[in-house]
Symmetry: C2
Subunit: 421 residues, 2 copies
């Protein structure tokens, strides 16, 4: 058995910057950098290992106002900012005093990743995947997706002048189809569910040596893009690691990479290696990691997702065990919230801070609330919430809950009456 897909005929040596090898997550087997994602030794996921050398704050601060300022910490070539690609990152970290008050926390920061090119954190991971894929000689950017990843992949390929192949279940909402199709790549609707689409992606990756499926054959590089969330939070806090951070869990990859990012910053001396706690957020309708945490287990039992938080609806999260390790190691916790609480979380963030997040953000906010109520988040310690996607893409989640206060005839008297004057 081999997990080697998409090996190419290029003879160029890939320039992946500080990246030096791939390491298996279970037993630490090392192998050369390649477009592979599972260790042939222990069958665990492969992760990028680095030799960073010296990295200084000044170098980063002098870089571009996007994720490429962290290029010395990513598996991307040293001239990455000169190569056509998207420029995600440098999104707002805002002090959320009104939200903090409602949550009963002293100080809350919201990392608002809706400001990315296609309005989700997926632009970060796709940009890194594209940069690495180019070095390996791939020529097509591909993915299976139900939403944010489809948008990000199609957009990044368009900007780079690459062809994209995006596979989606044909039942996807029309809005999500349109927001991918507009970039004019090869969008294929599959008469099947997301599992079917995912299986197809793995099969096609084996057949097409020039196709980089961002979340399959170049996944070790792709997933490193999430580290930039941690880097930006720390830099925006004035080169500090926040004592508490709440991260939504889908595959669990983002949470593990936020932790990896914070650890790297500490190891490099870019921040004081102060202790921090990582908290995980799930929707109850897809909460296998939360359930395992609650039961004190270190393995995750797959579930069949049933939640409005579709971008988190991965029933068998690949990084679930690693998430449990990190949360336990840092002294954090994992909680899950009902769909009703998700909607209330979306509305709470909107009415207190003017940020309209998708369901995943509602999960994060509602989970933070629950973690305060159950005494797991320290109300006196600063807390960062990762808001990773945009409410404009999941309007269906809120449409039965909100609307105009009143509909009135066109007279000032009628408006006044409707408003109680």
């Amino acid at each position: 058995m081999t997990a080697t897909f998409g090996t190419t005929s290029t003879t160029k040596t890939p320039d992946l910057g500080p990246a030096v090898e791939l390491v298996s997550k279970e037993e630490g087997h090392r192998q050369p950098l390649a477009p592979e994602f599972v260790s042939a030794e222990d069958f665990s996921p492969l992760e990028v290992a680095y030799d960073f050398g010296r990295v200084r704050r000044e170098d980063i601060e002098a870089g571009p106002k996007n994720i490429w300022r962290y290029k010395k910490l990513l598996p991307v070539p040293s001239n990455v900012e000169e190569i056509p690609n998207t420029e995600p990152g440098a999104t707002r970290l805002i002090r959320a005093d009104r939200l903090a008050k409602e949550l009963g926390l002293k100080r809350v920061w919201v990392k608002d990743d809706t400001g990315n090119p296609t309005h989700s954190f997926k632009d970060r991971v796709v940009a890194v995947a594209l940069a690495a894929a180019r070095e390996f000689g791939f020529e097509v950017l591909a993915c299976p997706s139900t939403g944010n990843l489809a948008n990000a992949t199609a957009a990044a390929a368009a900007r780079a002048g690459w062809r994209s192949v995006v596979l989606i279940p044909k039942t996807l909402e029309r809005a999500k189809i349109l927001t991918t199709a507009v970039y004019d790549g090869d969008l294929i609707a599959v008469d099947g569910n997301y599992d079917d689409v995912n299986r197809l992606a793995t099969e096609l990756a084996g057949e097409h040596p020039k196709w980089a499926f961002v979340n399959v054959n170049v996944r070790p590089y792709y997933s490193e893009g999430s580290k930039t969330l941690a880097y930006e939070v720390a830099e925006q806090l004035g080169w500090r690691i926040p004592p508490q951070i709440v991260v939504p869990i889908a595959s669990g990859s983002q949470l593990t990479k936020v932790d990896k990012g914070f650890r790297e910053l500490g190891q490099l001396g870019l921040v004081d290696a102060s202790p921090y706690k990582v908290f995980g957020a799930q929707a109850t309708g897809c909460s296998p990691v939360s359930a395992a945490f609650r039961a004190g287990q270190d393995v995750v039992q797959p579930v069949k997702p049933d939640t409005i938080a579709r971008s988190l609806a991965i029933g068998n999260p690949a990084d679930g065990p690693y998430v449990l390790d990190i949360v336990n190691r840092t002294g954090g916790a994992i909680e899950d919230v009902t769909d009703e609480e998700v909607v209330e979380g979306i509305r709470l963030l909107a009415r207190t801070e003017g940020i309209f997040t998708e369901t995943a953000g509602g999960v994060t906010v509602a989970t933070a609330k629950k973690l305060v109520e159950t005494g797991k988040l320290d109300p006196d310690a600063e807390t960062v919430l990762l808001i990773t996607g945009d409410g404009l893409k999941t309007l269906d989640a809120v449409e039965n809950h909100i609307g105009p206060k009143a509909t009135v005839p066109p007279s000032a008297a009628a408006v006044n009456e409707a408003l109680g004057y």
Copy 2:
């Protein structure tokens, strides 16, 4: 007759930073800073005048990464960044080589204002309006709107902890209603068209001394927010004014403020006061300024709008004559494009640069194309295109034009066949 609305009982002296007076645009009558928008002397719009003192690049560069870095050039208090408000701006300026090639231009930059908090440039103007309104003692942020402004006003009020009153025509698309309602202000649907809603706003502004209608009684402050587009473009180009810029025209305010911003930078010595040409873009279905330009007139004949570019559909643009002045003075031009061209403009930007803009951005891109074809844009001179709003808000404009390449059964063979392998 007086245009004084919303005078308040506050006794605090407003701190509006470098702003010193209001000046009427026609005859230059001067009056003290107040929440007024039309000169009682000559009935022309009032504009903010400043005493900037010394402003250095270093002061700006050391400021926050949002529009408040330009606070010394705006009618806002000197501690504006410490007061709850949104933090728009610092959006991407990207080099658009693939778009440039398709347009036949040597160098194109796209200012992608979809990265703002509610994904349009309206966040800039509303943030400035809110900051000024607070100084005048207002307590409610209000507007009549059909879309982007409603989102921006409701979101900014939420973040600041203000009440908002947003008036919309009840026929507005459900998506636009939801994206305003979610912020939980007082959203009132009016059984009438936009003209009815606008008239109501003016009437209500007179009745409610604590209500700041951002685009009515505090309009002179509000509109100054658009200057930040010019400031950011110049700073992002390394403190240079681009020789050519294409700006969409609704009321015309944005175009006049972009020009004002460039002129101020030159006067302050922050950039070389190099010549630049301002180009205006309209949809043919609402092209009164373009028609006047073509006819060589200096007044604008109102029209009844009929175009998919609804955010530009102002049939009687208040700043039309000033737009004509600026375009003529700088040696620019104005063109208009059909709805079909608007859709093609949206698709062109998406497939070349991975940016999905709303119809207004489609107007800008398609107009740029036309201006090249008619020889009005110099292909050898750098050109900036202002992309001011997001395609996620105007999905209806593209939905009959795009979609998946194919719908296939869940087999790799079927995908390959659909893609011609």
